[in-house]
């Protein structure tokens, strides 16, 4: 089945089986391996991407369901060589250890700050509550998102 999906602003047309999951479409068809593939059961959240600007677990979305829609992956956060403030926050506050959950955390963090530029700790924890950090580095993830919020407030 032919699908046309805009990913990070670029249009891709591919022939795919209807059963192909969005996460595998991104990783295997488009070679955008920044989106990670974890539990396969919509629990862990490492596969979170934005579909029409809203974070979704891409292991539980079919690629054909994204036909005609816009997807943003972690590769789309950087703009003109400059890291997004949430990426910068993770660097500054040691928001990642092994890095496996990071792409999903970043995509949800970006969405949170777009809707709520000044989230408190509870709101950040709520936003990422469907995503697991296997290093249990939640404290620093929360600090990283706060760092990004403050950075964005200061410019």
């Amino acid at each position: 089945m032919r699908v046309s999906v805009t990913v990070n602003g670029q249009n891709y047309v591919r022939d795919v089986e209807p059963r192909l999951l969005l996460v595998h479409f991104l990783r295997d068809e488009l070679r955008l391996t920044g989106t990670h593939w974890g539990c396969d059961t919509s629990n862990c959240g490492v596969c979170v991407v934005q579909l029409d600007g809203v974070p979704v677990k891409s292991c539980t979305v079919l690629a054909v369901m994204a036909d005609g829609h816009e997807v943003t992956t972690v590769e789309g956060l950087e703009k003109d060589g400059a890291l997004d403030p949430v990426q910068e926050g993770f660097v500054q506050c040691h928001g990642l250890q092994c890095g496996f959950c990071t792409p999903g955390m970043l995509m949800t963090a970006r969405w949170l700050l777009d809707r709520n530029p000044d989230p408190d700790e509870g709101e950040i924890r709520e936003a990422i509550s469907g995503q697991l950090c296997r290093c249990t580095g939640y404290e620093n993830i929360v600090r990283s998102v706060r760092w990004a919020a403050e950075k964005e407030a200061s410019v």
Partner: protein, 288 residues
């Protein structure tokens, strides 16, 4: 790697088109919206439909608002949209309190109200909330539309009255003065299915209960309801002793099963305690 078995994929352009596709593909076709129950089941081959009919594009199923004295919730309304809606929160806090503890924010962006009800999981939260407020389900099929009281919607675990050629299109809930509602859930961790959960809806007039709705989930309550406890409440003042007695009746009338979430006596205890707490808060709100 979990991969569903092969299937045909069709995108519905309208409700009549979806009905036509359901007829063309027959009883082994399934509608897909959020897909957060169906796709995991397909990966595990617990479900193996011949065809999926994608209804995500049907804006006519996404309506959410008040029509006269009725709250109308389209089947395609996402959990996140129900949770974000101010009118829903003002008239039926039970829905906001239930939604806040359904799955997690990212899953709620995708999963739908109609999908949750049609999945008919015996531990599903909204089934209890809609049972408590006695919603009506609107179902369309080749012969037109029909309205089914939500307490007749679920036939059993994973089974509803929606026939293979039909579509659940919306839920309708009457808005009445003097009503209050609340939802109480105990879960093992964020986003989990409930160990037990209870929704309560009370309408009072000068302190007397004139209408009572109780929805219980994950505890084996038939049609997610507790009719004996509801009948007991009618005509009484919503004081602590009365609500405790109703909670006792509700707990006695359900039939929880032991599993990894807990033994029978614990779940029954929760059913009673959560019924009491939900009723207390619903009563308080009905007086506000």
């Amino acid at each position: 790697m979990q991969v569903p078995a092969s299937f045909e994929f069709e995108r519905a352009e309208s409700v009549p088109h979806a009905l036509e596709l359901l007829e063309r593909y027959g009883p082994e076709a399934r509608l897909v919206a959020g897909g957060h129950s169906l796709i995991p089941m397909m990966k595990l081959r617990l479900a193996q439909p011949d065809a999926l009919i994608d209804i995500n594009g049907l804006a006519e199923l996404s309506q959410l608002g008040v029509e006269g004295d009725t709250l109308v919730i389209g089947a395609l309304v996402r959990h996140a949209a129900l949770l974000a809606d101010d009118a829903v929160g003002a008239y039926f806090p039970i829905f906001h309190e239930a939604e806040r503890v359904i799955a997690d924010p990212v899953v709620r962006n995708r999963g739908t109200v109609g999908g949750s009800l049609c999945q008919a999981d015996p531990s599903e939260d909204l089934s209890a909330a809609f049972a408590a407020v006695r919603a009506d389900a609107v179902i369309v099929g080749p012969g037109g539309s029909r309205t089914v009281p939500i307490r007749e919607f679920h036939v059993g675990p994973y089974e509803t009255v929606v026939e293979p050629g039909e579509i659940l299109t919306e839920l309708r809930v009457r808005i009445k003065p003097g009503a209050g509602s609340a939802y109480e859930k105990v879960e093992r961790r964020v986003g989990d299915w409930p160990v037990a959960a209870v929704g309560a809806y009370l309408r009072t007039n000068e302190g007397m209960i004139v209408e009572a709705g109780l929805g219980l989930t994950a505890v084996g309550a038939e049609h997610f309801a507790a009719p004996d406890a509801e009948a007991y409440l009618i005509g009484k003042a919503a004081g602590e002793d009365v609500l405790r007695e109703a909670a006792r009746i509700a707990a006695a009338s359900c039939a929880p099963q032991a599993d990894q979430r807990g033994p029978v006596d614990y779940k029954r205890h929760l059913a009673g305690e959560l019924t009491y707490r939900a009723l207390s808060r619903a009563a308080e709100r009905s007086r506000a």
